[in-house]
Amino acid sequence: MASAPGRSRPVGAAWLVVAAVALYVGGLLVVPLLALTRAVLADLPGVASALTAADALRALALSVGLAAISLVLNGVAGVTGALVLTRQRFLGRRLLDALVDLPLAVSPVMTGLAFLLLFGRNGLLGPVLQSLGVKIAFALPGLVIATVFVTLPFMLRELALVLEELGTSEEDAASTLGASAWQTFWLVTLPNLREGLTLGATLTVARALGEFGAVLVLGGAITGRTDTATTFIHNAMEERHTTSAYGMALVLAAAAAALLLLLQRRSQMPGVK
């Protein structure tokens, strides 16, 4: 829409900037994706059979399952955490506020390693876990921990931002009208978080599907057991099964693109700010 308010046709030097952005997006995003698509199309039957192989399907299912579990855990932890960070005043709140973003700053590989030192056989908690008969490292719980750790900041930050913006006046209004804390949460606070939750959920799923370093180190990428879509690609490349790798990579790329499109459409819906 050329006539959209705040948008204009680029003039002069603005053209250069537009061209640079187009080149950047094209060069770094579109071209590699096209190359990937081309590689897949070159051997479509091969890719199809590689992707329908039991190990590939299991890896994909594990990734989707991990994303779903992370989504639920992040939803609960994100809302609780954001409420604590924005609505409570306590000693060390600022420190906690800063630490929330830590997972975004550190390398996922380091994260995985740190968890391994905690939960691994020779880890700090190793003896305890062993005596309880709980297996975390190189098992599903480890994958869940790694994924949630890496994705929680997206959800939490987003929700905290929304809560901060909302302020407490609607919650105050609910109190004066006789609502209990619980009623206020369910009827006022949570519905107001809907948009933030949608965005946080999208980012969580996208990040969970794409997580590699932490799940590789803490999960071990054991084929058929802790092999996720991303580690599947890694293993396939190692073993020179390029068709499997390309196919899985394209599936992940398509999933990410679909998620973003979904988000874009939602934000354009009337009634959604």
Partner: protein, 366 residues
Amino acid sequence: MGIRVQNLVKNFGPNRVVDDVSFEVRPGELVALLGPSGGGKSTVLRIIAGLEQADGGEVWLDGRRVDAVHARERQVGFVFQHYALFRHMTVAGNVAFGLRVQGATAQDQTARVKHLLGLMGLAGLEDRLPAQLSGGQRQRVALARALAPAPKLLLLDEPFGAVDAKVREELRRWLRKLHDEVHTTSIFVTHDQEEAFAVSDRVMVIRQGRLEQAGAPMEILDHPATEFVARFVGEVNVFDATMHAGTARVAGVTFPPCEGAEGVDGTPVRVIVRAYDLKFWKDDAGVARVDRVLPIGDRVRVEATLDDGAPLFAQFPRRSSLLTGIHAGTRIAVEVTHARAWPIEGASHAGAPIATTSEVRSAAPR
């Protein structure tokens, strides 16, 4: 219900925003808390509602001390400054909220919502979202929502602050009418003196967390207890003078015996004269010169300069005979019909910054 507030104190960090405030509101009264922005009025209101915890003092509602009672159990309706409507709920949903959380049946909710929306002139807007309403409509939805659970006390925080002047005027009259119908004890906060006088039975002037004066509008206007109150509730001329036998002279203008300075002799005082307590007439031998004559709606504002250079202004009804022959450049005689004076207490009172929405003129060098 009746309200008693006693020795209320509230600090925000190092700032004391409510400083030993005590007052009573009788059942059925409509009272205004008037004062400059940031003076602690809203905080007093929030403490009464239970949204804020006082650092000291007591709040009694209907003879019951409520300091430890949660906001949801105080049965106090609150209208927030920026409405605070539930943005994801329809108008009907907003108004029904209080009844809903208190477990009223669906039929009761519907009936009450219908009644209130009718009363508020909002019928037909049930299914709108707050974002689809005008400012005045939102304000009325907020009021309907607060009234729905039949609160014993209604608190309004700058209720008309966020709507434009014309709507504000309408809402004021309408709030007064509503109060005369439902008789819910009400307190509203405002920084607008006109609003306070137009709507309330009684006005309490609050400044820097302290209650300066409480009384009927007429009492506050005609017998301000402090210089601050006098200057805050309307446009005034301010003169520094020395009293002699109950009167004072400044730049050729003689003041009548000043209320508040009876029996004061030889003491420096600050004299305050309201814009409508002056008379001007054309006199070539006069003591001042007219600078401007500004018609402002139903009144005319005349700005002049005294011969000693100090500015002076007055307001007259539009067709007043006092305006005959008064134009820019006219020399005039000045008569002060009513004045109030306060002794200047060192520098503390005189130098205190006075924030006001009305204009304050000083006619004498400090």
